[in-house]
């Protein structure tokens, strides 16, 4: 059986957190996924939208964000290929936040009907998707800890450690390097600091020799030291350990 490009990303992503049977992988491979190329800053869904399809990221990044006081944006999560950030919409519709592309992205739209049919046919897949939403919630808890308890330098370091760990599961962080087209303002809005402060923290990470960050290209020079600075422990990502 030939598995399509978006399907294989989804299978790789789910396999990172759960053991996927061949039968379930075959069910995913049969999902109707409509691919679409999207430009930077494209809103896939806005708060209040009623949607009838889920969006699986096949290439690039997505962010979820909400607007707070005075229209200030808080980015609440990043998404890497294989993620389905609006999986919630199967049960929580209309959507309660915004989902936007960070840089150009390729997404695959999957009709709710097709997802529901697939899940109704497989209790094990339903459990895996349930696990996926629990992992999503765990990532949010860690984000809350960052915003509430970590200093700005550790927040950014933690964000980079998490991106690296999540990108590795879908084979996108060779030699600890990856593309991440976030502006200083995006980083600031994700970590709850001003762009000026974010810029200063990024300079500090560079000066410490922990990362090189050149435009959209990030390379983690010393992942262990960066993790120590961030107090990053990857347990909360609940990735399966290699047997």
């Amino acid at each position: 059986m030939t598995i399509g490009f978006p399907h294989s990303k989804m299978i790789a992503r789910l396999s990172a957190i759960a053991s996927l049977s061949q039968a379930d992988a075959a069910r995913i491979a049969q999902l109707p996924i409509r691919l679409q190329n999207l430009p930077t800053g494209h809103d896939i869904a806005r708060e209040g939208d009623h949607v009838e399809q889920c969006c699986m990221l096949a290439d690039g990044y997505l962010m979820r964000h909400k607007l707070g006081a005075e229209g200030k944006r808080q980015i609440v999560s990043w998404h890497v290929p294989g993620d389905i950030p609006d999986l919630y919409s199967l049960h929580l519709n209309p959507i309660d936040h915004n989902i936007t592309t960070l840089g150009p992205a390729v997404v695959g739209y999957i009709p709710h009907d097709a997802l529901n049919q697939m899940l109704n046919a497989s209790a094990s897949l339903t459990h895996i998707f349930w696990r996926e939403t629990l992992v999503d919630a765990s990532i949010f808890r860690e984000w809350v800890v960052s915003l509430g308890q970590r200093g700005a330098l550790a927040r950014i370091a933690h964000m980079l450690c998490e991106l690296l760990a999540r990108l590795r599961t879908v084979g996108l962080a060779a030699r600890n390097s990856f593309l991440f087209p976030a502006s200083q303002i995006d980083v600031a809005d994700a970590t709850g600091i001003t762009p000026v402060h974010a810029n200063r923290m990024i300079q500090q990470l560079r000066a410490k020799g922990l990362v090189t960050w050149d435009g959209a290209s990030i390379s983690i020079a010393d992942p262990a030291a960066l993790a120590a600075l961030a107090e990053f422990e990857d347990d909360y990502l609940h990735h399966r350990r290699p047997a």
Partner: protein
């Protein structure tokens, strides 16, 4: 939009902003300076020592200092 540079000095830790940030006007730069100052002092995480001072200055593209914020720590004996 004009570019503003935000330099910080505290003890041995001095940071000269080489990148700067484009902001609509001086008042936006002041807003950014005060918010950043609050966040930077929070990040000192208890390391502000009595008898020292923490500075932030906002420098314009022409090199002139537009604003400065100074936080002096004292211990009354």
């Amino acid at each position: 939009m004009p570019r503003y540079f935000f330099n910080v000095r505290y003890g041995e830790e001095s940071y000269r902003d080489e990148v700067g940030e484009e902001l609509p006007d001086n008042s936006a730069a002041w807003h950014e300076a005060t918010t950043s100052a609050g966040q930077s002092i929070r990040d000192l995480n208890g390391r502000l020592v009595p008898g020292t001072a923490w500075y932030l200055e906002v420098v314009c593209e022409d090199g002139n200092t537009l604003y400065s914020i100074e936080v002096k720590a004292h211990q009354s004996s």
